[in-house]
Each structure stands twice: as C-alpha cells, then as structure tokens.
C-alpha cells in the first residue's frame, strides 16, 4: 500500500470516482434545496397558518423525526411502486432526503421566526402590513439570517448522509469506493481517498458558507456580533 498506489488507483478508476463525486454533490445540493423550500414553507405555515394545517404539519415533522432516514428512503424507493409511483434510484434518494431535511430545517426556521423580537412584528403591523407582507418582508429574511449556522450544519450533514443513497443503488462516493475496493481489494487506500474527499468537501462548504454569512450579516443581528470582544 502507499501513496503511490493510491494515486494509481485514482488515475485508473478516476471515472467511477468522478461519477460518485458528481452524484454525491447532486444529492446534497438538490436535497438541501428541496429541504430549504419545504422547511421555510412548513415553518411559516406552522407559525402563521390556519390551525388544522399547523397540526397536520406538526404531525409530519414528528413522523419524519421519529423514523430513520434509511427507512424513509426505502419507503420512497421500494414501497411507493406498490401504489404505482416508480422512481429511478437517484430521484427516490433526492426526494426522500429532501422530505427528511425539510422536516428538520422547518424546526430551525420556526425557532428563528420565534426569536425575532416582538417589537419587529409590532412595527410591521403598525405600518399596515398584512400577515403575508409581514412574512415576506420581515419573518423570512430575518429567520434565514438567524438560522444560518443551523443551515450550514444541515448542509454538511446531508453531504455525509447522502452516502445512504448507496442502499438505493445510487453510485455516490461511498458506493464508488465500494466498487473500486471490490475490484482491487485495496480497501485501505480506497476508503482513505473517499474519506479525504468527504472531509475536503465539508471544509469547502463551511468556508463558502462563512463567506456567504459575512455578506448577508447585518450589524446587531446574530451571534458573532453579540459576543465579539466580550468573551
């Protein structure tokens, strides 16, 4: 074993590594986006929507949080065909992960919406804003800023947990490693390479998000500002 053989592996099997990398990135990005849209929608409806919808969505969130993500993927991929919904593996994985992430993300945004000071809502109402205008102008833009650190957390989490798409036969990074390992029996080198790729990706995501956060940060709002020079 050694660095040389690791590079040889990479060179020889680069197309399958790249395929795995591509699918991992697609899974992560699309599942996160679906989760973001779903999460914001659920959070807003649970805070401002009519009562029956609030209860319905609360039940959804609890069911998703109370069952394993792997099981949810199995249901989407293996069980839905029984009622006539047949999805290709990657679509099933994206849908399952998106539905799962949406439930978790909704809790972040809901907590953030509640963390917006009451006076902000009073000011919006006193200008004559409707609930819809208040959501658009105040609740969502502020909640996203407040919830931003949790969003980064969720993105990095999804990057790593996209590996369970493996069980739906999606050739993502981990599966790609498994294939190369099975062919070469160089499991140590292969899985080291895979681990380094995951680690590098999550570092890159964190870096990029720090940059985005610095762009959307507003003085007086958010943790880095609150504790600066204090501790």
């Amino acid at each position: 074993m050694g660095i040389v053989s690791a590079f040889e592996l990479l060179a020889k099997y680069h197309s399958i590594f790249l395929l795995g990398l591509r699918n991992t990135l697609i899974l992560t990005a699309t599942a996160f986006s679906i989760g973001f849209a779903l999460g914001i929608t659920i959070a807003v409806l649970r805070e401002f929507g009519p009562k029956p919808i609030r209860h319905l969505l609360a039940a959804y969130v609890e069911i998703i949080r109370g069952t394993p993500m792997l099981l949810q993927l199995f249901i989407v991929y293996y069980a839905l065909p029984a009622i006539g919904i047949v999805l290709p593996p990657i679509a099933a994985a994206i849908l399952g992960m998106g539905l799962n992430s949406g439930a978790y993300q909704s809790e972040y945004y809901r907590a953030a919406i509640r963390a917006i000071p009451r006076g902000q809502y009073e000011a919006a109402l006193s200008l004559g804003m409707t609930t819809r205008q208040l959501i658009e102008v105040l609740a969502i833009p502020m909640a996203v800023r407040i919830a931003f650190p949790s969003m980064v957390n969720e993105l990095v989490y999804l990057l790593k947990y996209s590996s369970i798409a493996y069980f739906l036969t999606v050739i993502e990074l981990t599966y790609a490693g498994k294939i190369v390992g099975a062919e070469t029996f160089q499991y140590l080198e292969v899985y080291t390479i895979i681990a380094i790729i995951y680690f590098a990706l999550s570092m890159a995501i964190v870096r990029f998000c720090k940059f985005v956060e610095s762009r959307i940060r507003v003085p007086g709002l958010g943790a880095p500002e609150a504790t600066r020079g204090l501790i």
């Binding site: 200008l127 507003v218 003085p219 007086g220």
Partner: protein, 254 residues
Amino acid sequence: MSGEILRVDNLWKSYSETPVLRGVSFEVLRGEVKVIMGPSGSGKSTLLRCINLLVRPDKGRISLEGKEVFPKPYDSIHRIRQKIGFVFQSYNLFLHMTVLDNVRVGLIKVKKLSKEEATKRAMEALRIVGIGPELWNKYPAQLSGGQQQRVAIARAIAMEPTIMLMDEPTSALDPELVGEVLNVIRDLAKQKMTMLIVTHELDFALEVADEIMVLDGGKIVERGKPSEILNNPKHPRTRRFIERLRRRVEHGHR
C-alpha cells in the same frame, strides 16, 4: 380644517382578570397635540395599542375621522392601521434593513408606490427628521438611540398618517439624546400634525400639548390645559405623580 380625528368612548381592557383600562373616553381634534401622562402600569401603552388595534379592547368604541374602528371596523384592520402612525419606546426599526429601506418599505409594500416615488418620499421624511444621506445606508445597530428614534418617526410620517401615536418616544434614550428627538416632534406639532403622545417630559408637554390627560389605574383622573395640570393639579394622585417627576428631573436622572 378642523374636525374630530380620533374619538375613544368608554374603553375597557383587562389582561386575564386584571383590569388595565377602565372606561377611558377622550377625543383628539385635527391638528391637536394631546399628551397622556401617568405612573407606570396606569395603562398608557395599552391605550395606544388599543387605538391601532395591536391590542384588542374588551369593550368601548373607537372611531377615526368619524368612522368606526372598533368594535365594527369600517375597513380591514391593516388598511386602518396605515392611517395611524406609531412610534415605539424602543424604536423597533427593522434590524435587517438600512435606514432608507426602513422608511420606504411601508411605501413600497403597503402603499404600493413605485420604488422611485417611495425613495423620493422616504428621503423627504428623513430630511424632515434631520437624518442626512451619510446615514441612509447604515443599519439600525450602527446608529445612536436618538438617530434610530428619528428614523422611526420618519418611517411613520412617510406613510402620511392622519394621526401619530407616540409611546414614550424618549424614555429609552440617554439624557443627552432626548433633545434631538423632542425637537423633531416639536416641528411636527408646528406643522399641525395630529398627535397623541405618552411622555414624562414636563417642559415639553407644557410647550406643545393642547391638553394633558392623566391616566391612573386605567382611568383618566384629570385632564386640562398643560399649565393647569402641571402647576395646579387638582387630583391628589396627579399632584404626587407630578412632584415625583419634578424631583427626578432635579436630580438629573430620568
């Protein structure tokens, strides 16, 4: 142009069995400045919040320009609120918006003005309160309390309300910043802006108010010309309250 802008009739409000307003009645005429004073817990904030329906009264009647606002609003509540400017003790500027956006967001989103028209009006309002262009792109947290409150006043007047409600607009300010905010309100009074102001600033009330109403225990216990109320209060509770305020001013803290 004269006429009645606001009428409040026998207004009652309780918070879980605790009565806060117990039959408050008064009126504000066009161009008038009325000041409400009273010890903490006397129901001043609740009264103002009832008028723009941030708090729902239990019973009574409120009308704006002769049209009923409570209990049977003549229009949707958010359209009625557009006519009532509100200035909060703690400014409540939108923290994630610049000064300019704070003032024009209501014009764009609520009044549906074009961005150009809204910006023009917002700049005008900011000039009225003495906030110069160098501050227009700052965020609230980058301003002093006095500047924030002046922006908040600009945000309210840009909507061209029929009446302004101010809930202790200078109580959260450092003493040296009170003057700049009172000057702005004084200017508005000179422009004949109709205002209902909760304040403990005696000299200011004496100068701008057409009438002072003293609220205590959820009732108006005394009302009249500022000079009468401040120099010759009839009600013993008013007398004690005013004496306390004077002592605080003499000792230099608010």
